[in-house]
Amino acid sequence: MVNSADAVVSNTSMSGTSSLLFRVLKTIGSIAITMLGLLLVTFIIGRVMPIDPVISIVGERATKEVYDAAYLEMGLDKPVLVQFLYYLSDVLRGDFGISYLNGAPVAEDIRRVFPATLELATIGTLIGVIVGVPLGIVAAVKRDTWIDQVARVVALVGYSMPIFWLGLIGLLVFYGILGWVGGPGRVGIFYVDVVPSVTGMILIDSALDGQWDIFRDAISHIILPASILGYYSLAYISRMTRSFMLEQLNAEYITTARVKGLSEWAVVWRHAFGNIKVQLITVIALSYAGLLEGSVLTEIIFSWPGIGSYITTALLSADMNAVLGGTVVVGLVFVCLNVLSDLLYSFYDPRAK
């Protein structure tokens, strides 16, 4: 696939390296513009839309001095454009302001909670890939059979379930009734804060520390929320895999391969699957981004101390700096994954743009 992409690129009068440089610059530019757009939107949400942005940050019970200090610090006496530039330079320096709820810098809070979300979304995506890709391939190969119908229903049901409700039902059945998994939270109450935090991801930290009973406990806590997130990414990944595979299986080179007498296994896995790998990676990147966001509601159900819980707790106590900081960080990761998957796709298929 790389070869065919190179062939087209060299046709367009640009040498391979300078076109690569051009694309990298274009990607950086497009990430920068999108981020600027995101920051503009969060700026509007935080500073322009509220009737009194100072109160939305310091709270209604703030004293006159606190209010005035915040007013000046936010630069509200200056023109809107200047305010935006201030906001921009703050965010670029990693300063999201102070959380009105606990008085700590928002950036520090986010650094603390983000690994938990990352851990959850990663395990969820792994489950989605491990189950979703084979399901999509089987559905495409056995098209219009009962297997295909089952895969279709599995995906449609996944698209239609409210994730927070599925989490509740899962908690009821697997924790409440069957007792197969650990309850809400990342580890049992005896293990909280026992492991020294290195990466912030409790599975890795406990393994590094050799605390295997904590590791097992953490697994029993993460498996249910991760499976529920995994189901969502499974629905998406299996559908996309199926349509990519169908596209390949209908192509003439597959007929050629079959005529040559290749085994069905070789046709499906070596030829057809070999050609959809890059497309699949872009889809997986997109679903990973989707899970980072989808974990917001799941985290609340499972009392998972990640960025979703952080944003919603802040939301309910009107802690605007924390809400906006969380939004910007989720947005940043989301945008990067989005643009990277776009770039990967355009590398694979020069026809796309």
Partner: protein, 311 residues
């Protein structure tokens, strides 16, 4: 016997009028196109099922006062947390003794209200942006599509959360937040359609007759974008319902006494281990509606999207 004789020729007459090879009027051509679409749609059992569920739910929403056995807001604390199948309360009661079935029936009104409002805002905004960008082209296209791409790359739910945080909780604000994050795909689709239509012969013909850009866009391009937009709307509907329910669950959508399904789940969450039905039932309702929209959308896509034919 007698009746059959009268009806029979009439029915075949209608069918032959609908399936005529050469329509004699515009109305006949249009009716015939609809009829053929319906014949093809009918063969997709799942899509038909989705349509039936939705029609039933719309009827339930319309006739909610007649169908619900109790007042959805009437509290009866002596009768709280009754299980499924208790006398007078088929689906039990919630923590304030309110009838869950009645609340679910009235909740369908809120769901359709939210969906209806989002559908009035997002696709129209997308259509406007997309057709203008596609038709005018040049720098207007670049700027509008750049903005669309930026919005497309945002995390939708998180952004909707932030919007509601700034605007304040409430159904209308939730609708606005969802619509603000939902329009970009429609703009993309409308632009793609416009680009293919713009260079076609009949647009040139209309131009030669002296039609201006406004007339061309509104009378000759918009009608042709509708089909693909409707498919996309139907497929998006489930996402909109889930987002609205999510906002309701977080307490950012409908205000407490109102029987919004997401808020009902949030309320039942506290008793999930002992009184599971309080949270389970409204969840089933959300699931049913979004599944119905997904089934219908899947079928419509097969029907209306030329690219998916042959697959």
């Amino acid at each position: 016997m007698n009746q059959e004789n009268i009806l029979q020729p009439h029915r075949t007459g209608l069918r032959s009028w609908l399936t005529a090879d050469v329509p004699t009027s515009r109305a006949q051509a249009r009716a015939s196109a609809w009829y053929h679409g319906w014949l093809e749609f009918k063969t997709n059992r799942l899509a038909l099922l989705g349509l039936c569920i939705l029609i039933a739910l719309v009827l339930i929403a319309i006739f909610a006062p007649l169908l619900s056995p109790h007042d959805p807001l009437a509290q009866q604390l002596s009768n709280r947390l009754q299980p499924l199948g208790s006398p007078g309360h088929i689906l039990g009661t919630d923590s304030l003794g309110r009838d869950i079935l009645s609340r679910m029936i009235y909740g369908s009104r809120i769901t359709f209200y939210i969906v209806g409002l989002v559908v009035l805002i997002a696709p129209v905004a997308g259509l406007l942006v997309g057709t203008v960008a596609g038709y005018v082209g040049g720098w207007a296209d670049t700027i509008l599509m750049r903005i669309t791409d930026i919005f497309l790359a945002f995390p939708r739910l998180v952004l909707a959360l932030a919007f509601v945080a700034a605007l304040g909780a409430g159904i209308e604000n939730a609708v606005l937040a969802i619509a603000l994050t939902a329009w970009p795909p429609y703009a993309r689709i409308a632009r793609a359609e416009t680009l293919t239509i713009r260079s076609s012969d009949y647009i040139s013909a209309v131009k030669l007759q002296g039609a201006g850009a406004f007339r061309i866009i509104t009378r000759h391009i918009w009608p042709l974008c509708i089909a693909s937009l409707i498919v996309r709307i139907t497929l998006d509907m489930a996402g909109i319902i889930l987002a609205a329910a999510g906002l309701g669950f977080l307490g950012l959508g409908a205000r407490p006494p109102s029987p919004e399904w997401g808020a009902m789940i949030a309320e039942g969450r506290r008793f999930i281990l002992d009184h599971w039905w309080v949270a389970t039932m409204p969840g089933l309702a959300i699931f049913t509606v979004s599944l119905a929209f997904n089934l219908l959308g899947d079928g419509l896509r097969d029907l209306l999207d030329p690219k998916s034919h042959g697959k």
